[in-house]
């Protein structure tokens, strides 16, 4: 009886260690990462963008599971118009001056099909944290000339996502003229590359 229990425990331990060993850690790096936020209104559309994205993606390409944390340098987001950028960063709107990071930390990842996933996580912005469930495409790319051109050694994970947020959920209040020229539900998009070396 005790031999069976020991064997069972050993089998479970081996399975767990193999499973854990398959989850690799990929660090977001290089200068080809892109985070954008697009506001669409009847007056104008504008897109804020930055390449300053960092963080870590944990991914098991066989088990199709993982998680991670993505951090966007909010102060580097540019809409192409300096005055608008200054307003956006100020305490009157997004308050990036006091909260210079936008952070998304996963709590669960569900594989849908192929490279498509459903990711649930906590998004922190402007001093508030909101739980969101968003679609994501995650592709595993073995090291190649193409991945090395990104400035990355090792295997690479490419993560893309696109989802809407509500600025009011993050405590952002649009006042006056901005109610007509800024959308309360902008679309956030991310395209990042992370390497395991």
């Amino acid at each position: 009886m005790s031999r069976k229990v020991v064997s069972l425990i050993a089998a479970v331990a081996l399975t767990v260690s193999v499973a854990l060993a398959s989850v690799q850690s990929f660090k977001i790096a290089g200068d080809r990462n892109l985070a954008t936020v697009e506001s669409v209104t009847s007056v104008e559309n504008f897109t804020g963008r930055t390449n300053k994205v960092s963080g870590e993606i944990r991914f098991d390409p066989q088990a199709r599971t993982g998680g991670g944390v993505i951090i966007v340098d909010a102060m580097s987001i540019s809409t192409g118009i300096g005055g608008r950028d200054a307003n956006m960063r100020s305490a009157n709107y997004m308050n990036f001056v006091q909260h210079p990071e936008i952070r998304f930390e996963t709590t669960s990842v569900k594989h849908k099909s192929g490279d498509e996933y459903e990711v649930t996580g906590r998004m922190s912005m402007s001093g508030k944290t909101v739980t969101l469930t968003v679609p994501a495409t995650v592709r595993f790319l073995e090291a190649s000339n193409a991945t090395r051109e990104l400035g990355l050694n090792g295997d690479v994970v490419n993560l893309r996502t696109r989802f809407e947020i509500k600025l009011s959920d993050f405590g952002v209040e649009l006042k006056g003229q901005s109610q007509r020229s800024v959308s309360n539900t902008p679309t956030v998009a991310l395209n990042v590359f992370a390497s395991n070396k």
Binding site: N45, R49, L150
Partner: protein, 139 residues
């Protein structure tokens, strides 16, 4: 009489501005192209990912007067591809057709209203002036 002339001049000016706003958009509209801004990938990465580059924002009608900003190809919806890198390197902020239309409508409304008000003022001042002169004549 002088006020009537001033009102007439302002009415004419407002009509010119009204017409000019519509004419300007007629001239610009053929140049407003449905475009998708993208950050281009290298050829190797494009082949691996199966796409020319990363989209920046959604497709929209833009006025870009520098043809070198355009890349070869289009999206499945027919939007021409525009290099975001080229736009940034050359400090080009594309004019949106949506904004041009908004401004035209605002200018047309304002100048139309001004033309109407100045027209009414001109008519009323002219009538008043004729009545005054008629009164002077009968005296």
């Amino acid at each position: 009489m002088r006020l009537a002339k001033l009102a007439r001049a302002l009415m004419v000016l407002a009509v010119i501005v009204f017409a000019g706003a519509w004419l300007a958009t007629l001239v610009l509209e053929p140049r407003a192209v449905l475009a998708q801004r993208i950050e281009p990938h290298s050829p190797d990465l494009a082949a691996v990912l199966g796409e020319v580059g990363t989209p920046v924002g959604s497709p929209q009608r833009l006025l870009i007067f520098d043809d070198r900003a355009y890349l070869k190809g289009a999206t499945p919806d027919g939007a021409r591809l525009v290099s975001e890198r080229y736009l940034m390197e050359n400090n080009i902020y594309p004019l949106q057709w949506k904004t041009v239309v908004f401004m035209r409508n605002a200018v047309a409304f304002g100048s139309g209203l001004a033309a109407l008000l100045m027209g009414l003022a001109w008519w009323w001042l002219s009538r008043k002036s004729r009545g005054f002169r008629a009164g002077m004549g009968s005296a």
